[in-house]
């Protein structure tokens, strides 16, 4: 997979973020405009293109959901622009309850401790789905990819919870 190759990293879901950042800095230095001061226009243009490719690749690989979507699309399952709905009653019921709990935090007498507890809960869910995803994306069997895609969809809801939680946190701090 091109993005992983760019950073000379193995194409696995549990990417080493420290290494990724390090390689990114190395690559950025190598294509820095200063190095191309005396070079031809064509070389300068190529360096600019390379820079934007590196930035795109970093943005995708850094983000767990985008990374998973990228890995899926490279294997022929592109869910990035889909408008399909998710219909898993048990999962959605849990999401509904979590959203209700989030709503209650705003009216709580001790919001800070509830925010901490909620954060821990989201973290646990994130870990659960990420661990499953790492396995599924490592599977050679392409029939597993649909299951993995479903997991990515669920992970998106978990990230949405995280977003909502930080929005509530910001509001409380104001």
């Amino acid at each position: 997979m091109r993005y992983f190759e760019l950073f000379n990293l193995p194409a696995i879901y549990n990417v080493d973020l420290k290494q990724l950042n390090q390689r990114y800095l190395e690559l950025q230095r190598a294509v820095h405009p200063d190095k191309y001061a005396g070079k031809s226009e064509r070389e300068k243009l190529l360096a600019v293109q390379k820079t934007s490719e590196i930035n795109d690749a970093l943005a995708v690989l850094k983000h767990p959901v985008k990374r998973a979507e990228y890995m899926l699309s490279e294997r022929g399952v592109d869910i990035r622009a889909e408008q399909q709905t998710l219909q898993d009653p048990a999962f959605l019921m849990q999401q509904m309850e979590l959203r209700e709990a989030l709503e209650d935090i705003q009216h709580s007498s001790d919001p800070e401790s509830e925010i901490d507890a909620f954060e821990a809960q989201i973290k646990l869910l994130d870990q659960q789905y990420s661990a499953k995803l790492a396995h599924q994306l490592a599977d050679e069997d392409t029939s597993v990819l649909e299951v993995a895609a479903d997991n990515v969809r669920k992970l998106k809801f978990i990230y949405k919870l995280r977003e909502e939680l930080s929005r509530i946190e910001d509001n409380l701090l104001d």
Binding site: Q83, T85, L86, Q87, L92, M96, V152
Partner: protein, 127 residues
């Protein structure tokens, strides 16, 4: 992005927010979610023995368009038979609420919620 007056009206005065007793054999629930934006929608219908939707309630966590779409469909399904309700298309919702293309998925969510509720009712009846 500007919401249409109809969307704003539904958001400010949502119709039929709430829940119905899920243990009632005549009550069915449709749960759907949109991964793209993380919206979650619950639509409940209460169906008479004659197969007519007597009551509908919704609860939606999402943007204004998602709330308006679900609020609108609770109004629309009331008094309809299951077959009539099943005919509601997302394009009817986008037209009524004047949703922009980026919000079409909200109307899809509402259409799928009706379908899911009807499917849940049918599976409840055969049990």
């Amino acid at each position: 992005m500007a919401y249409s007056d109809k969307v704003i009206d539904h958001v400010e005065n949502p119709r039929n927010v709430g829940t119905l007793d899920k243990n009632d054999p005549n009550v069915a629930t449709g749960m759907v979610g949109a991964p793209a934006c993380g919206d979650v929608m619950k639509l409940q219908i209460k169906v008479s023995d004659e197969g007519v939707i007597e009551d509908a309630k919704f609860k939606t966590y999402g943007c204004g368009s998602a709330i308006a779409s679900s609020s609108l469909v609770t109004e629309w399904v009331k008094g309809k038979t299951l077959d009539q309700a099943a005919e509601i298309k997302n394009t009817d919702i986008t037209a009524e609420l004047e949703l922009p293309p980026v919000k079409i998925h909200c109307s899809i969510l509402a259409e799928d919620a009706i379908q899911a509720a009807i499917a849940d009712y049918k599976s409840k009846q055969t049990k």
